[in-house]
């Protein structure tokens, strides 16, 4: 337990001390929130209804998809994991603790957004707090799993950026953050179901009185839960201590198994079930 506390405490502080993590955990999401709050609410006053969940989900995306993977790649490349191994630090702790501290950073920013958005931008508070909190944690769980998976399979920092952006940009564009998913063309609406943010927004809409949703919100919750669990399991299976000395011989392509629940959701929607 003491080891967990020290590890957790160090990882949490690293998320603020490390400049790129500080940027991705705090500066970028808060800056974007202030910018979007100022511009979007004046251009489109109805955005005040979505501002809080949209910016909170955006924070999850930046911290988990952009912030979480690269330290894992760097630690493996620079021999940090070798040091961890010789001191008996288990793989589970190496993966779970950064995921938990990243989620804690997103909670801090989410609280800041929830507290300030109504005052600064007259944003509307969530009508159903339970669905808001549940969608937050399910999306954080699913996205953190994907972030870990990217870190574990990515061969270099450059590849990490490409893999992370391959999910981050579509999430921003069609994931329901900037405008509601029901406004998308049918084909794109189906593709959007491959993204965790779409399901998080869908849960929020489905469980809010009068909310709009495009997919069964219970199924979305199941997709995020299963996707997150599969991503964590695959990250653990694919984890390597050392770049030159792979100890696991499962091919990185098996990481795609973590996306099976999202694919099933998209296929079911496509065939009209």
């Amino acid at each position: 337990m003491t080891a967990f506390v020290h590890h957790f405490s160090f990882e949490f502080r690293a998320g603020v001390r490390n400049r790129s993590l500080l940027l991705l955990n705090y500066l970028f999401p808060i800056g974007f929130y202030l910018l979007a709050g100022t511009l979007m609410t004046s251009l489109n006053p109805s955005f005040k209804e979505y501002l809080i969940p949209a910016m909170v989900f955006f924070t999850i995306l930046t911290s988990t998809l952009l912030g979480l993977p690269d330290p894992i790649v760097s630690a493996r490349e620079s021999g940090i994991f070798r040091s961890y191994k010789i001191h008996g630090i288990p793989e589970l702790a190496i993966l779970i603790i950064p995921a938990l501290t990243t989620i804690l950073h997103t909670i801090v920013v989410a609280v800041l957004i929830v507290l300030t958005a109504p005052l600064l931008f007259q944003a509307v508070l969530p009508a159903n707090w339970l669905s808001f909190v549940l969608s937050f944690f399910l999306m954080a769980f699913a996205s953190a799993g994907i972030g870990l998976l990217i870190g574990v399979v990515s061969p270099s920092s450059r590849a990490t950026i490409l893999l992370a952006q391959a999910l981050f940009l579509p999430s921003m564009m069609i994931g329901g953050l900037m405008f509601p998913a029901h406004m998308l063309p049918d084909a794109l609406r189906t593709v959007a179901l491959l993204l965790p943010s779409t399901h998080a927004v869908n849960i929020l809409g489905g469980w809010t009185p009068g909310g709009i949703y495009t997919f069964n919100p219970y199924a979305s919750a199941a997709v995020l839960y299963a996707g997150g669990a599969l991503a964590f399991i695959m990250a653990l299976i694919l984890f390597n201590w050392d770049k030159d000395n792979p100890t696991r011989h499962v091919r990185p392509v098996f990481a795609l198994l973590a996306f099976a629940p999202y694919v099933i959701a998209a296929v079911l929607t496509f065939v009209g079930i």
């Binding site: 003491t2 160090f10 070798r82 191994k85």
Partner: protein
């Protein structure tokens, strides 16, 4: 006397694709001794250490550290051994104090700030890792390697990048550890260091052990030539064609160097020659063969001592 072998390596072989890094070597390390693995780059020293530490999987052979198989039971091994890796890292933003707390917590021991003090890091407790010098990083790695009082310590090039003072401090720490009963296995390029510290050494060349024994035994097993270096004002001795018992001759930095089987006779002859040519003596040095001389002799001839 039956000696207690704490590390046992039998017919150990490790390859990387077609490259044979270690080719069926066997050796034992006894409890409480400092054992040196010597060899040029690529000789297989680091591979041997990393397989013993459980970081790499051997292709074949038997490796045991305190009767533990490093690959099968590396979790049990973690508290028995301490490791300073040649290439290791720490998170950039971790401070010296945090790293001591962090790793000691995983070993379930109290942080050993006394070791940081002993290794000259007490004024760097709150300095983050990326701000430490190479020498400070290596001293921190050593402190962390021994903080949980391991019974066997593996050190891979422990003094690389250290200044003279830090090197001397580290030697003192190693001797203290040995005095406390810790077994130390170190790899190094630094022959003088190993000769000074190690009770026994094994010289690795192209993945094979080409010589092993105490440093004294190894040097005695060589050609046994004594090195005489003489520096005179006019370098008159360089012109002489013959001195008794001299087997090899060379020049370096103004010194004429003679390798002889009879140092007394050669020194007398050199001094008489210089005096006869009215050439004042500036410096004269007589050195017994070192481990480095023996190492160079072995690597030059690729001699295999069975």
């Amino acid at each position: 006397m039956i000696r207690d072998d704490i590390v046992r390596v039998q017919n150990f072989r490790k390859t990387y694709s077609d490259f044979v890094a270690v080719d069926s070597i066997s050796f034992e390390v006894y409890r409480g001794e400092i054992f040196g693995l010597l060899g040029p780059n690529g000789a297989g020293k680091t591979t041997t250490l990393e397989c013993l530490e459980g970081l790499r999987m051997p292709d074949s052979g038997t490796l045991r550290v305190m009767d533990v198989d490093p690959m099968r039971d590396y979790r049990r091994l973690r508290n028995l051994i301490g490791v300073q890796l040649q290439m290791s890292g720490m998170p950039d933003s971790i401070s010296v104090r945090e790293s001591m707390k962090f790793f000691c917590a995983y070993h379930r021991v109290a942080p050993r700030y006394d070791l940081l003090d002993r290794l000259g890091l007490s004024d760097k407790l709150d300095t983050q890792y990326y701000m430490l010098s190479i020498g400070q990083k290596r001293r921190l790695a050593l402190a962390l390697a021994v903080a949980h009082n391991p019974q066997v310590v593996f050190l891979d090039e422990p003094t690389a990048g250290l200044d003279v003072l830090s090197r001397s401090e580290l030697h003192d720490v190693l001797r203290e550890l040995q005095a406390a009963g810790t077994t130390i296995i170190l790899s190094s390029h630094d022959m003088a260091e190993v000769e000074k510290l190690a009770n026994r050494v094994a010289i690795l060349l192209q993945g094979k052990i080409v010589a092993s024994g105490t440093p004294r035994d190894l040097t005695a097993a060589g050609a046994g030539l004594t090195k005489i270096s003489i520096h005179t004002e006019d370098s008159s001795v360089a012109k002489a064609e013959y001195f008794p018992a001299v087997r090899q001759k060379s020049s370096k930095d103004g010194y004429e160097i003679f390798y002889t089987t009879d140092p007394g006779a050669t020194v007398l002859a050199l001094l008489e020659f210089a005096k006869a040519h009215d050439d004042p003596l500036i410096d004269l040095r007589v050195e017994r063969p070192t481990l480095e001389d023996r190492f160079l002799e072995i690597t030059a001839h690729k001699e295999v001592v069975s």
